[in-house]
């Protein structure tokens, strides 16, 4: 998987790693059983402090997204996909709440906002390729 770390976006670096790994699992670009890079490898690859990567991995372990395979490193847990999809939805809900509150503060009426929202949904589903 490819990471994109942005030190200026207001989210701690370790949290960015946690989210991106969860998103990859949710999308299926990381699959259960797949080995993730070691702390040292990932730290080098992203030019990050190893402790930061370690902290992200520990949190992912606590949340049962990653597990240690003795002698082989860390791998994605079975059943992690469902949890990651859930976490992703929570994040999306929070982001949406942020956008909505910004819109209300900017003086948009709920009806105008609903209209914008419906249009956005229409646009997004139109662009989506039929599966």
């Amino acid at each position: 998987m490819q990471f994109r770390i942005d030190v200026d976006n207001g989210i701690s670096i370790y949290e960015q790693i946690v989210r991106q790994i969860k998103f990859s699992v949710a999308e299926g670009s990381l699959v259960p059983g797949q080995i993730v890079p070691s702390v040292r490898e990932l730290a080098k690859q992203l030019a990050l402090n190893p402790n930061t990567v370690q902290r992200a991995y520990m949190e992912l372990q606590n949340e049962n997204v990653l597990e240690t395979l003795r002698g082989r490193g860390m791998a994605v847990c079975t059943g992690a996909k469902r949890r990651c999809i859930g976490d992703r939805q929570i994040l999306l809900r929070d982001r949406l709440a942020g956008v909505v509150s910004e819109a209300i503060r900017s003086g948009l009426e709920p009806d105008q906002l609903r209209e914008m929202f419906d249009k956005a949904i229409e646009q997004a589903t139109k662009n989506k390729e039929p599966s």
Binding site: V7, D8, G10, I13, V39, A47, L48, N49, N51, R105
Partner: protein, 320 residues
């Protein structure tokens, strides 16, 4: 565990100018510690003092348990050091300088130097004087790392280097840190420091403003943005002046870096009829750099304040 570096109440004057003013801090073992500050803040003087190059007017420095004033040679033998302008014998070839330096260190130095030289793609038969700035820096780094020192001290290691060479320097630092060694660096490359440092210290006009884990400082401080309807009215009391590190105003909108902010205080600020559009953000290292070099010098981020702040979580914007 004994700290890797222990600076106690150090002062240093050059003529009438005080370059270091009662500086005290410890660098724990096994961390990447970044010393930040403007040009002329005293960073290089402090680093050179650690190696025993300066006689201090006051205080002591211990490096790996050795007194820098009494045992400078012993220290230099045990650590790796890359200065901002490494001085090397210009007429030596890369391979020769490795061989020459290996005479001062235990067995194994030359092999590791050759291995590093290969990793850094250094031309072994080229003379030092014919190398580019980036190549010279890489020779200095290879020399500093070949003895596998428990402590690596780097003074502005990546200034003036191209992105690829900088990246190699970062990777080497990360490698050191991953194997449990201590790295102490001074730098202006804020974005790089933000990625690699566990601990930071801010030096401003010879005084140390704060030393703490970077994460702790970031949690203790909040970037608060808001607007005022009426700018003639004073700021509400909930913005305690003694907690404000730095503030800028542009028309009706404010940006304030404040210590000990909490959702409770934010709710109170939002209720103020004169205030609208309140937002909070986690500070970037660049915010902190500006705040600590330009901001309110009376605000002391004491360990107590840092500790209490880290328990109150600031609300983070949910973006990606």
């Amino acid at each position: 565990m004994q700290p890797a570096i222990c600076v106690k109440d150090v002062s240093k004057r050059f003529g009438r100018k005080t370059v270091l003013d009662h500086v005290s801090f410890d660098v724990p073992q096994g961390v990447v510690f970044a010393l930040l500050g403007e040009n002329g803040a005293g960073k290089s003087t402090l680093i050179r003092s650690m190696l025993g190059y300066h006689r201090l007017d006051r205080g002591t420095i211990e490096v790996l348990g050795l007194d820098a004033a009494k045992k400078p040679l012993e220290i230099r033998r045990q650590i790796g050091y890359v200065s901002d302008a490494p001085a090397m014998y210009e007429w030596m070839k890369v391979s020769e300088i490795g061989w020459f330096a290996s005479g001062f260190y235990p067995k194994g130095f030359l092999e590791r130097f050759q291995q590093l030289a290969q990793e850094f793609e250094l031309p072994s038969q080229t003379k030092i004087r014919d190398l580019s700035k980036g190549m010279r820096s890489k020779v200095a780094l290879a020399l500093a790392m070949a003895s596998e020192p428990a402590l690596l001290i780097l003074d502005e290691p990546t200034s003036g280097l191209d992105p690829l060479v900088r990246r190699q320097f970062l990777e080497s630092m990360i490698d050191r840190a991953a194997s449990g060694q201590t790295v102490f660096l001074s730098s202006h490359q804020i974005h790089e420091v933000e990625r690699v440092a566990d601990w930071v210290g801010f030096l401003h006009e010879g005084k140390l403003r704060v030393v703490a884990p970077l994460d702790q400082i970031k949690t203790a401080l909040t970037v608060l943005t808001f607007s005022q309807h009426d700018t003639v009215l004073p700021l509400p009391n909930v913005l305690a002046a003694d907690h404000i590190l730095y503030q800028t105003q542009s028309g009706r909108s404010w940006r304030v870096i404040i210590a000990g902010w909490s959702p409770l205080l934010e709710a109170e600020l939002t209720r103020d009829a004169n205030i609208f559009d309140v937002g909070t953000m986690r500070p970037s290292l660049e915010d902190l750099f500006v705040a600590f070099t330009r901001g309110n010098e009376s605000l002391e981020l004491s360990p107590q304040l840092l500790a209490t702040c880290s328990s109150t979580n600031t609300t983070q914007p949910v973006t990606f």
